[in-house]
Subunit: 618 residues, 2 copies
């Protein structure tokens, strides 16, 4: 009893002023998770990314760990900053949490949608008048409903029986019958046939997008995006897998978080568009294989170790009630099939949306999400692989990297010796996101401040080589080695790109380029044979194609042959929602894809290393 | 707060010494139900049957109601007996509850089982060795399982994914795969193929029977029977419907009670036969239409009023987890279809077991359960009807009527002027059950103490007509009018049959006989045309055929043409469990039956009244 009393502590999180009771010593990051406080935890509890900084306002705290001393700046230490993953809470504590912009600042949109969208949804609604029972018409309630239905060979879900007597008790019952795949899944008093909705979900590692569709009209009503709430347990899939497997309860937390996120999006749709969640009859879901596993509550551990085999690839159908997704409880949640351990149903969505398997010529689709997934198609055959490209472009392994949120440098341009930055929401910059990183690298390569081996020059070299002073003075030696200052901040840490950041870009782009070369070689082809490159993923939308070619992210090809498709995975999920034929096609296509495991490919290491250098002729 | 404190009472039920806390005034019968105490409540809360007697041991109690004064004997009142449905509890109370024999004393058996029982169960189990994944065999866990399965075109239930990684983590995984209708519903480490079970349930209004089958061998392992726990809320279906519809919570109570009963039977099987409930893959269920509705939690109110239309007749399949029945959670619970409001799936079981629809000639099947359900078949056509026959034969409307439990007079015979009683368990008699009632009536008819109009003679008549003195002296006038003493009890109420009881027998047998005549008339036939009478139901097993013919329960036919089939409904449920072909046949047969609603038939009232008299030539 004594120890219990001793350990009854309160942690207060500012600025929300949320208080969390704690019964035993625990790390602040875990306590924050229980309180539903979003703290960036990029490394998923490995304790080495340094992203989970919080400022201690008051309370007796344990001394700094050696890792905190090495990761935090002197200034930060003076100001009371600590790493939430390292700080063991042993007494009442008040902490200030740096705010993560949880709303995606870039407007969520499907930049592209195929024309002549096929509409063949699985839901049909009928408004019918039910005969009264009598001694001469002694037919059960359920059989009288089936009798007047225009569709025959239909069954009634047993779950509807409980409410059936109430529906038919009126003197002249007129009801709406909702049929899905020969099963009646809802019965309602009155005419609700005009309300028939579905949602396509795209579970990105970073962002979860929901698209609400009118299934009668085949029209999108709206879209909504939220930061994937699993992000607080790790920025990339490997960190999430690590977190999920480190404690049996964590897997459940991950599952619950993503279901909560879905239900949050649904709640938004309900209030924004004044609809009833009972009228949402289907949801399709795409995501990478780890996201699919976590969504099903399936341990993804084996995805993090060779031979990277998923527990399942098959498409899954389960009612809303069993999936804990707040659509109609008998409505269907359809998870599209995965292809391999790191080529998920999001890529199946890309295949469907791009129709790449039907295109003439030799075509490449790249989804530079948190993982770089690549598909190569030559009519008749399709190869897919995944590369560990994402963390750099999503900000995780970059010193001041961040997601594409407010304050991120998303673009850069050197104009007559002046560095011009493009910052999301036009604020003072606080970090660099993927498109900014590529632009900066390309521009610095262009003027020679970075050479083709990735070496960042120093100020002396710049002066000797007649680089503008305004740029030369940005080259300096910081606490992490050589760096180039992007933005000076008064009294705070300047925004910089470091030599190490550039190495991370090289690793990422080398992996993607190397993967492309290996896939082409499987078909006996070379990079020059490529007809088209399709960029999928939000990242592909914001990337400057010239910069991407400039750093050699993918093979040199004329700009008009590079097509940005935006959230192609989401488009694919929408197509599978709207059309059962498209859904079937997606299943068939997923089975046809030949997966190439780069880690098991003898030539990959060679190609990877070759591709790490930047192109010489920029 | 005051009123809460005032109303915090404890009711103690003896002999179990179970204490129930009560927070507000309530009737003792309701409090007993919450405490799971079985008190007979035949009338379902209508407060007029007088069966729910309890003896108050201590406590301040409300005065007797006028109904209690009229129903209870003076002696009972003196001894502190009260009716639980009338006694409002306002203070701490200790009561002695007369014990109901909850175990069926007559050994549960399927007296008859068709030869050449068809075995084509829906479950198949395979013991297979799963390949290890490798970079050369980068196939998902689920696909590697499907690959080695001899059966093709099979899918895996998504609910199995969560445990799949654990199953395959061994170095040389060998697992048992259980397939039901092309869906894998279980995966287990090791070889469990020899364990494959199913249960056939028969929900009688009075008794619930479960039969455990080995689905590999097609052999019955054992059977178990329990009093239907809903009995405490009413002896017959009408009382149960009344109780279910009198409070929204009552419907849930009824559903929960029957599920608990199933799970009790399953628990018994598990411990008796040392099996794992995960290896019970299917359960089939039959019962009358009210029992089917209550099992599904569906309000049966409309079954109690014209036009007596059920909410559903269709067969139902739902997984164990959704049915709240503790078989394998993905195992299937199959409820056989009903035919009409008072012709249930139990009669569908009788059709299947008796194969009456395929028999040559004109055949009749009668299930004298709580309701008398009758089927008439002439090759090609089948009619069914139900009659309100049951309550008398199940003891409900009989003054000292009781179920066929320990102490019930189950048979009677007059031998050289002596009345010889047959009592269940050879104890002192405490009441009369159905077969005893028929025997007594037939014997008294035979010697003229009852005439063909049903009139019970008095002692004077008996002496004048040379009836043995030992019998004549049994005729007397009691507090309920004329009666015949069956057994004298020292210091307690004697066991008697009253004039009113005989009228109840006449009503019941008139209804059955009248129903038979109406059904025959639909085919242009008369009672003399009948080829066979099949008696279904436990009652049919214990009935003395001569007595049944003696009182004119059914048409006069030679004794060898009357066949007792015992629990034919249970046999039918077992056949539907063992063979998918038989199950399909049962569904088809249910649809072919033409239901005759006697209450809507113009000639029924005439035939009913005609049939109320006993046969003249006994």
């Amino acid at each position: 009893m004594d120890s219990e009393e001793e350990n009854n502590m309160i942690v207060t999180f500012l600025p929300q002023n949320i208080k969390q009771q704690v019964h035993k010593k625990d790390y602040l990051l875990n306590i924050a998770s229980k309180a539903n406080i979003m703290i960036d935890g990029n490394c998923g509890g490995k304790k080495n990314c340094g992203k989970c900084k919080v400022q201690v306002v008051s309370g007796v705290i344990a001394p700094l760990s050696s890792e905190e001393i090495s990761i935090l700046t002197e200034k930060e230490i003076k100001e009371g900053y600590r790493l939430a993953c390292h700080l063991m809470v042993e007494d009442d504590l008040v902490v200030q949490v740096p705010q993560i912009n949880n709303n995606i600042s870039r407007k969520t949109k499907l930049t592209w949608m195929p024309e002549n969208l096929s509409l063949k949804a699985s839901i049909k609604k009928y408004f019918v008048k039910i005969d009264k029972a009598s001694l001469q018409n002694q037919v059960s309630d359920s059989d009288r409903i089936l009798k007047v239905l225009p569709e025959k060979g239909v069954a009634i879900s047993p779950f509807l029986l409980v409410n059936m007597p109430r529906l038919l008790e009126e003197s002249d019952p007129q009801i709406t019958v909702t049929v899905k795949d020969n099963l009646i899944i809802d019965l309602e008093i009155g005419d609700t046939t005009s309300h028939c909705y579905g949602i396509a979900f795209d579970i990105g590692t970073t962002t979860v997008v929901g698209m609400l569709w009118d299934l009668n009209e085949g029209k999108m009503i709206g879209a909504s995006a939220l930061t994937n709430p699993q992000s607080i347990f790790g920025a990339d899939v490997i960190s999430r897998i690590h977190f999920s497997s480190s404690d049996p309860n964590n897997l459940l937390i991950m599952k619950t978080k993503i279901k909560e996120c879905f239900n949050h999006i649904i709640k938004d749709f309900i209030s924004l568009y004044n609809i009833n969640n009972m009228h949402i009859y289907e949801a399709t879901v795409v995501g990478n294989t780890t996201m699919s596993h976590l969504f099903m509550g399936v341990d993804p551990t084996q995805l993090s170790r060779s031979p990277f085999v998923p527990v399942f690839c098959m498409p899954i159908d389960l009612p809303g009630k069993d999936m804990e997704v707040n659509i109609n409880p008998l409505g269907n949640v359809h998870l599209l099939p995965n292809i391999a351990g790191h080529v998920g149903s999001d890529m199946v969505g890309v295949l469907l949306a791009s129709d790449i398997m039907e295109l003439e010529g030799i075509n490449l689709a790249i989804d530079v999400g948190t993982n770089g997934e690549i598909v190569l198609s030559q009519k008749g055959r399709v190869f897919a692989c995944s590369t560990a490209a994402g963390p750099a472009f999503e900000g995780a392994s970059i010193y001041q990297g961040m997601r594409a949120a407010s304050g991120a440098i998303e673009g850069a341009h050197i104009h007559y010796g002046e560095l011009i930055l493009k910052v999301i929401d036009d604020t003072e910059p606080i970090g660099i996101c993927g498109s900014g990183l590529i632009d900066i690298t390309a521009e610095l390569l262009n003027i020679g401040i970075i050479d083709h081996t990735g070496k960042l020059m120093d100020e002396n070299w710049a002066i000797e080589n007649n680089i503008d002073t305004s740029l030369a003075k940005r080259l300096r030696k910081g606490k992490n080695g050589k760096e180039f200052v992007l933005f000076w901040l008064e009294g705070q840490e300047d925004i910089v790109i470091t030599q190490k950041d550039i190495r991370e870009v090289q690793l990422a782009k080398g992996a993607i380029y190397g993967g492309i070369v290996i896939m082409l070689s499987e078909l006996g082809l070379q990079v020059k044979d490529l007809d088209k490159i399709i960029l999928a993923g939000a990242f592909g939308n914001y990337i400057k194609k010239e910069s991407a070619l400039g750093i050699g992210l993918f093979p040199k090809i004329s700009l008009d042959k590079i097509i940005s498709m935006g959230n192609a995975a989401g488009v694919g999920a929408s197509m599978a929602l709207l059309s059962l034929e498209d859904r079937k096609k997606a299943h068939e296509q997923a089975r046809k894809v030949e997966h190439i495991e780069l880690s098991g490919h003898s030539d990959f290491q060679t190609e990877y290393i070759k591709a790490m250098n930047f192109p010489k002729e920029v």
